[in-house]
Amino acid sequence: MKLQKNTLAAIYSVLEFAANPGRQLSAAEIARQYRISPHHLAKVLRSLGRTGLLESVRGVGGGYRFTGNAKRLTLMDVIELFEDVGAPRRSGRRAARRDPAAAGPSPLEVEDAVGVVLAEIDEIAEATFRSITLDTMLKLVARRRK
């Protein structure tokens, strides 16, 4: 599972918000801290706002405020908003039909076997993302600071 730029920007942002509960932050502030394009991040934050994880604060000094629950929200919950993780990789298929007269494996068989390994990697990645809450991530940040 390779995360796209906007997914990583969303993860950095929700962690920044979750680390500062109650505080309103602007896209520009977060973009500066994480060296992300403010224009790009503004779109990401709007998407997060539409899901209800962030609340838009209007007016001077406006921005967004975190409305999610850091102890419940997992990295996978954020990733699923930006990545098509539901699309199954080609795996689990029985070995593709092959020409019995062929000396080696067919391209379909090779593709199928590679797909099985890639699906295994995806499953492990997904289980990892699904098991880590924002709160756990913030604890990890704190531990690594020591």
Partner: protein
């Protein structure tokens, strides 16, 4: 998203929680907690586990329970093993379970802390466990306690194929 009942916390916090070694009289409640979680009653298995881990004869084995208000709320089982799979001595947590209506009260944390304290007393500095990767609830619990992926991979093979 990980959902747990909020009202459960208040229930579980009514009485102070005490973590102690298991006693034979606790077994019926432990079997009940496990059956509530796994959907399967395994009395024979638990009797054997009690003999192996709860006798107190081997100091590297731990079978702990968390008790509150005279009720067993959870259990944890672990052992220090030497050179298992080529690993230097470390503590293994084989099982941890908390009644669903007593979760979110820190009982799992208390049990894990107690078993880790036991491991430390025996001189080991690493705790490990193995979990089904679709067991998000328990995976999240161990992650929240600071456990990370170990430098090992569990493998299996279907012997019927």
């Amino acid at each position: 998203m990980i959902w747990l009942k909020k009202e459960a916390v208040e229930m579980a916090l009514k009485d102070p929680v005490r973590v102690r070694s298991v006693q034979p009289g606790d077994l019926a409640e432990v079997i009940g907690i496990d059956a509530g979680i796994t959907g399967m009653r395994k009395p024979d298995y638990w009797s054997e586990i009690l003999q192996r881990y709860g006798s107190g004869r081997r100091r590297q084995r731990f079978f702990l329970v968390a008790e509150a208000g005279g009720r067993i709320e959870g259990f944890a089982i672990g052992e220090v093993r030497d050179w298992e799979y080529g690993m230097p001595p470390c503590g293994w947590v084989f099982a941890i379970g908390v009644r669903p209506d007593a979760r979110l009260a820190g009982i799992g944390t208390r049990l894990l802390d107690a078993i880790c304290a036991g491991f430390r007393r025996l001189g080991v500095t690493t705790v490990r466990t193995i979990l089904a990767r679709d067991n998000s609830l328990i995976l999240s619990f161990f992650r929240s306690q600071g456990l990370m992926a170990a430098p090992f991979i569990a493998l299996e093979k279907d012997l019927e194929r």
